[in-house]
């Protein structure tokens, strides 16, 4: 063997791959959502999300997963988690129809300060505190995500939100009564976030940003 060092090197090279431990990336990827793999409904939904996410992660972009199972808004890029915002509460109507990738049509408006060159004084920058915590995101295909801050932080905001929700429901009901027609079905998702997390979401989203909604088989508690 020693007289043929090249053969020894070849032998080592041939033996190394089978001896090496399995790829950590493959091991990591075995149960990305940490779900019960004996639950067929959860598996089916996870598979749908994964198939959509693979398409999004293959492109240079950031995207958002509204994960109702893990109660989180997850900002991702290339499959890697960049940031996570906890959802305190959620409710939904017609979400059974929400099974595609949704594109955000417009981000919440930002109050920007204008620099006046002649004035010579510094303009205050836009910061997270300037962002709204109570806003609605409109998507294509049709999906409405209403974000509002948690009641514990501001009871008046919550009352205003509830009143608005009720008013909208009442208008729909009135329209149905008057015309006899069922209003067009639109998936609506209502998210309650801590105020600073709601502001953070308003800051993060951009026009055209793709969103996925991971649905659950159990109603929100």
């Amino acid at each position: 063997m020693l007289r043929h060092p090249a053969r020894l090197v070849l032998l080592v090279v041939l033996l190394l791959p089978p001896m090496a431990s399995p790829s950590p990336r493959a091991a990591e990827g075995d149960n990305i959502f940490a779900i019960d793999i004996n639950d067929p409904a959860a598996l089916q939904e996870a598979n749908r999300i994964l198939a959509e996410e693979i398409k999004l992660a293959a492109r240079p972009q950031t995207y958002v997963i509204l994960d109702l199972v893990a109660r989180s808004v997850v900002i991702k890029g290339r499959g890697a988690e960049l940031h996570r915002l906890p959802i305190e509460q959620w409710s939904a109507v017609h979400l059974a129809d929400a099974s595609s990738t949704f594109r955000l049509q417009a981000r919440p408006p930002v109050a920007r300060h204008k620099i006046e060159p002649a004035a010579g004084d510094e303009q205050p920058p836009v910061s997270l505190e300037d962002m709204p915590s109570d806003f609605t995101l409109v998507f294509s295909p049709s999906l409405l995500v209403a974000v509002h801050p948690s009641a514990a932080e501001d009871i008046w905001r919550w009352l205003r939100f509830t009143a608005r929700e009720w008013w909208s429901w009442l208008k729909d009901w009135g329209r149905r009564l008057m015309t006899g027609n069922e209003p067009a079905v639109q998936p609506v998702l209502r998210l309650t976030l801590a105020p600073h997390h709601a502001q953070s979401l308003a800051w993060t989203v951009t026009e055209g940003m793709p969103f996925l909604v991971r649905r659950t088989s159990s109603p929100p508690s």
């Binding site: 598979n47 992660a57 290339r78 979400l95 300060h113 010579g120 509830t162």
Partner: protein, 208 residues
Amino acid sequence: MKRIIAALGAASLALLLLLLARTLPPTDASIVPAVEPDQATLHTLQSRYRSLSKQLAQLMPGQPYIVVDTARNHLYIKRRDHVMLDALASTGSGTILDKPGEAKGQWIFDTPRGEFMVQTKLVNPVWVKPDWAFVEEGLAIPKTAADRIEPGVLGEYALGFGKGYFIHGTLYPRLLGKNVTHGCIRLNDDDLKSVYRLARVGTPIMIF
């Protein structure tokens, strides 16, 4: 008396809304379609789940990548889920400046969001001042490129990620952690050195 009536009114309204909130239209009881729990279906679903999970894991960057959180002004270098560097940064101010001579033209000083990559790595960079830097100071835009050059303001290194945006140093470290820049990402000298050392041309930069 008026105050008592107002308080009672507000309390009644709050109570009414609380009661109404409990009767709001119900959430879809089951929003994921039911699946027949037979063994063959379950096995197929499990195999597909493993296969898709592996495919997604393979799309994750294998090498270190840069993440910039513009809301909290932090720059991270990560390798998979491990944070190799957490640096305080400054990012775009979000302010606007009118372009002279254009009715609707404006510069918006945001740090761009999305995925980019390191395109250039420079040592002792010089700043070639763009038009907005002169307009902002109320100065005339120079005719020659030589009048735009300003050395020593970007620190020892700069990493370009396209369209004139750079990760660079700062003369104002007290402003780190704030949204004060014209879109570039500023770091202190030590963190800038680490980023320069860890990043290569092609390193992904994910900005949110």
